[in-house]
């Protein structure tokens, strides 16, 4: 029997707001010089420390929801998710339960669309460090990350392959990056990926009765590999007539395998209830429209526009819209290249075709942080400048080359077409890079057929 995976994704993205989600502490856990320096009574969970929501984080989460094609309900609230873990100082995480910030979105992939179930805001936990102090094994807690704003994006179980998962995640990453709301750096843990994978016979429409959650994956490729591994593992179990157990597994890159971490018995009970310390939010549609107007042009739209406006092929346009910075850089170059520039040796027309710019940026692997758009345009112009040669001089050079290579002229006339290129090369050599090549060829052909 053939099997297909049924995959839903949960993605956590840390927002790069200046301060934390519910207090004024600096939000920069990765670069903090010392543990527990960006802390206060609220993010340490001290008695009476209260959460005050970060306006920017909420606006950014709405922005992300809009960019993922979601509806933004006009009512939302925070809830408490109660569970114990030493890195969670309050004994509960402030999250969102039944009325998240955004719902019902979608992301197109080349396979099929992936529906977004919800986008919600929550706070990150602290970080446990396991160390040996004075010969004693200890667990230390660093609360610099406690309370960092975290957006969770949950998809419907629409993904059918590791390849599609990878494409979806890259696209999501790209959108987040376009919105400029997160570093989305998987090595730093500011973007975390958790596929929920189950497997069913091809053709079946039912959701399997179990799912396996894979954690600790920090690259898109590993997601793909973990999914491929799980497809194989689970299909074998199903083929033997058993059902895989519902569990949490981790991706072990060294082994190239997922390994069991925790078997979930009953469904977790987080005893959600509305966070009494934060009044609920009621948006006006004006407010949502305002945020919508802040959403920049997104990758899909930009790609289409680049192909149309700049007559780029799909490959070039895709590369140039990979990041917003690169796309912006390209467009800035195009703008500069179109400016009339009488001082240039291009005869004052100021034109470097967009296509040429695209080729330069892509082929020469331009580092956009190192060369300003104006400098790039100038260097292209210099390198490809055409120095005018008078018709008179051109005529003389051609006549001279034809005279010096009578054999080649005879050969050409006898039908040996390569001889034309030999003559053309010699003419260019004598012109030393000057002159318009098309014009040279035209004149040469004219002479040869006279």
């Amino acid at each position: 029997m053939n099997y297909e995976p049924v995959i839903g994704m949960e993605i956590h993205v840390e927002l790069k707001t200046a301060s934390k989600m519910f207090c004024g502490c600096k939000n920069d856990p990765f670069f903090a010089k010392k543990p527990n320096t960006y802390t206060c009574p609220a993010c340490l969970g001290m008695p009476g420390g209260l959460p005050v929501p970060n306006k920017k984080a909420i606006e950014w989460a709405i922005r992300l929801g809009l960019a993922l094609g979601c509806e933004i309900p006009l009512f939302t609230k925070f809830d408490r998710k109660n569970y114990f873990y030493p890195d969670l100082p309050k004994g509960y995480q402030i999250s969102q339960y039944d009325q998240p910030i955004a719902v019902n979105g979608k992301v197109e992939t080349s396979f099929d669309r992936v529906r977004i179930r919800r986008v919600h805001l929550e706070e990150d936990a602290g970080k446990l460090l396991h160390a040996t102090l004075d010969g004693e094994k200890v667990s230390l807690v660093d609360f610099n990350r406690s309370g960092v704003p975290l957006v969770e994006i949950v998809t419907e179980p629409d993904i059918r392959s590791g390849e599609q998962a990878k494409e979806f995640l890259k696209k999501l990453h790209q959108i987040v990056q376009y919105l400029d709301i997160s570093d989305a750096d998987m090595d730093k843990g500011s973007m975390r990926l958790e596929p929920n994978i189950s497997v069913r016979p091809v053709g079946s429409k039912d959701l399997p009765s179990y799912k396996v959650e894979v954690k600790n994956i920090n690259s898109f490729n590993f997601v793909k590999r973990a999914i491929d591994f799980e497809l194989d593992r689970q299909a074998r179990i199903l083929a033997s007539g058993k059902t895989p157990i519902q569990e949490t597994r981790g991706w072990n890159e060294g082994k190239g395998a997922t390994v069991s971490q925790r078997v979930k018995g009953e469904a977790d009970d987080y005893r959600y209830f509305p966070e009494p310390d934060i009044p609920p939010f009621r948006w006006t549609s004006t407010f949502i429209h305002e945020i919508k107007s802040q959403v920049p042009e997104l990758p899909d739209a930009k790609l289409a526009r680049f192909k149309k406006d700049y007559e780029l092929n799909d490959y070039d346009a895709t590369l140039l819209t990979d990041t917003k910075q690169l796309a912006d850089y390209f467009e800035e170059c195009v703008k500069l290249a179109r400016l009339p520039a009488p001082d240039r040796r291009d005869g004052g027309q100021g034109k470097v075709p967009a296509k040429k710019l695209a080729n330069w940026i892509i082929n020469k692997k331009i580092v956009i942080d190192e060369i300003l758009p104006a400098a790039l345009v100038q260097s292209i112009l210099t390198a490809t400048a055409v120095v005018a040669v008078s018709d008179d001089e051109l005529g003389k050079v051609i006549a001279h080359v034809l005279q010096a290579n009578t054999k080649a002229v005879t050969d050409f006339k006898a039908g040996k077409l390569q001889s034309k290129m030999f003559l053309f090369g010699n003419i260019l050599k004598e012109l030393k890079g000057k002159g318009d090549k098309e014009k040279v060829m035209g004149l040469l052909e004219k002479k040869l057929t006279e």
């Binding site: 009574p41 008695p47 009476g48 005050v52 004994g91 005893r271």
Partner: protein, 472 residues
């Protein structure tokens, strides 16, 4: 000559400013009273012996350096804050609660930290891990709670005034039992930042004082929006003492709960009805509002339901609020929780559990909304609602016994108001000459209209003999 610890806050501030008394004399008398009575009454858990010297620099402030006793669930920077629980017995907060910051800025001095029911779970101070407080009016009796230590400190003149917190009755009920004034503001009027949380959706810090005016004075200085507490309101804070003497002429009042089966014909009902007559004599109209089992015009929803609603909401929030004291940070583990806290954590965990939350927590919140609607109907008609604060006099030490619902039953008359977030104030309305124990009258007004109930309570206090300070 009266000793200075028996002065009201208003008198103290006036006399200090007029230089009729010095800080040194004042604090000497207050500390003398504490030294004489604290061992017997168990009012203070921690004292600041530097209080007098701090006060001396504060003459030009609104509270002029007057000593204020503070319930031990307000975080005080550098001063132990226990919430009367062994779990926090060595906890020294690195920050002041917003109310404490405001109090200090206005020239109040934290004299010491007062005993309470552990985590504010209770209505008698008997759940304190540091022993119960005794009622200064008659030490065989309980002071009420959970702000029992603060109410007792005021009643025993072991301070000039005090701060307490109320979740449902914890200011007004001990004030009633100790024969003092206790004011619970509108939820969101006073910041909860730095107050050890109990039930976050109802916790309201407020003053406990010798007179209505003293409470109004403190409220003026501790109220206001706090950027660290998202549930505080931008509602402007008036000077609550300004219109205090304007009287009740023309006010419409409704008298509630005297027909409740538990109260009908009792001495409590009688003295409250007499109090209503006093208010009528002063120019208010008072309607008796009949009790009802469902929402309807001209009726007040039976407070019995509030016991269930409050029990569920409060336990649910407690189970979450106490989850952080798991032994990771405060050095001692969960085993140090007292029996009452454990009981509440377990019940709250149950009422929030999957499959039960809809039946309990969600249902309770719906009924809570009904109380809010009922009050809005009543406040469309009435400026002030009156009711007994507590069904009766203070109970004897040991009354809590094995009855985990003790507090809920004692507080039931103020629970609907607290669940609705409304403000209320208790003033003494009767003293039993044999036991020296008091009955309290509650005045309630609509959200953000504390001035109205303050005016009415002050008029009543002035017109009657029950306040032991204004009738010295």
């Amino acid at each position: 000559m009266t000793t200075l610890n028996t002065l009201t806050l208003t008198e103290t501030v006036a006399k200090l400013k007029a230089k009729e008394i010095s800080h040194a004399e004042l604090y000497k008398d207050v500390h003398k009273a504490i030294a004489e009575k604290n061992e017997r009454l168990n009012v203070y858990l921690t004292l600041d012996n530097e209080a007098a010297s701090k006060a001396e620099k504060l003459l030009d402030t609104p509270l002029a350096g007057a000593p204020i006793a503070v319930k031990d669930n307000f975080c005080t920077e550098g001063m132990r804050t226990t919430a009367s629980s062994n779990v926090l017995k060595d906890f020294v907060p690195p920050f002041d609660a917003t109310v404490i910051t405001k109090l200090k800025k206005s020239g109040g001095v934290v004299l010491g930290k007062t005993n309470m029911d552990a985590w504010a779970h209770g209505s008698s101070t008997e759940t304190s891990d540091f022993g119960p407080t005794k009622n200064p009016r008659n030490p065989e009796y309980l002071p009420g709670g959970s702000s029992g230590g603060s109410a007792a400190a005021v009643a025993a003149d072991m301070t000039i005034a005090a701060l307490g917190t109320e979740t449902a009755g914890s200011i007004r009920q001990p004030a009633a039992w100790c024969g003092v004034v206790g004011l619970k503001p509108t939820y969101g009027r006073v910041s909860r930042t730095g107050v050890v949380p109990m039930a976050s959706s109802t916790d309201s810090p407020g003053p406990i004082g010798k007179t209505v005016e003293d409470c109004a004075l403190i409220l003026t200085h501790i109220a206001g929006q706090d950027r660290y507490d998202a549930t505080t309101s931008p509602e402007p804070v008036p000077d609550f003492t300004k219109d205090i003497k304007k009287g009740v002429k023309g006010m419409h009042m409704g008298l509630c709960y005297t027909d409740h089966p538990q109260l009908r014909g009792t001495q409590t009902a009688k003295v409250v009805e007499q109090a209503a007559k006093v208010l009528e004599r002063l120019g208010a109209t008072v309607d008796v509002i009949a009790l009802s089992e469902k929402i309807q015009n001209n009726h007040v929803l039976n407070p019995d339901y509030a016991v269930a609603v409050y029990t569920i909401v409060q336990r649910s929030e407690v189970s979450s609020n106490l989850a952080g004291y798991a032994g990771v940070r405060y050095d001692v583990g969960r085993s140090h929780f007292g029996a009452e806290a454990k009981r509440r954590i377990m019940l709250g965990t149950f009422t929030l559990s999957k499959g039960y939350a809809d039946r309990y927590y969600v249902q309770a919140q719906k009924v809570r909304s009904l109380y809010i609607q009922n009050y809005q109907q009543l406040f469309a008609k009435y400026d002030v609602l009156l009711s007994p604060t507590s069904p009766g006099f203070a109970q004897k030490i040991g009354a809590l016994g094995d009855n985990p619902m003790f507090g809920e039953l004692e507080d039931k008359l103020v629970e609907p108001c607290a669940l609705s977030g409304l403000p209320g104030i208790n003033v003494p309305c009767y003293r039993d000459p044999k036991t020296n124990l008091y009955i309290g009258l509650s005045f309630m007004s609509n959200y953000w209209h504390e001035e109205t109930m303050i005016r009415a309570a002050h008029a009543f206090e002035e017109a009657t003999q029950w306040n032991s300070w204004s009738n010295k």
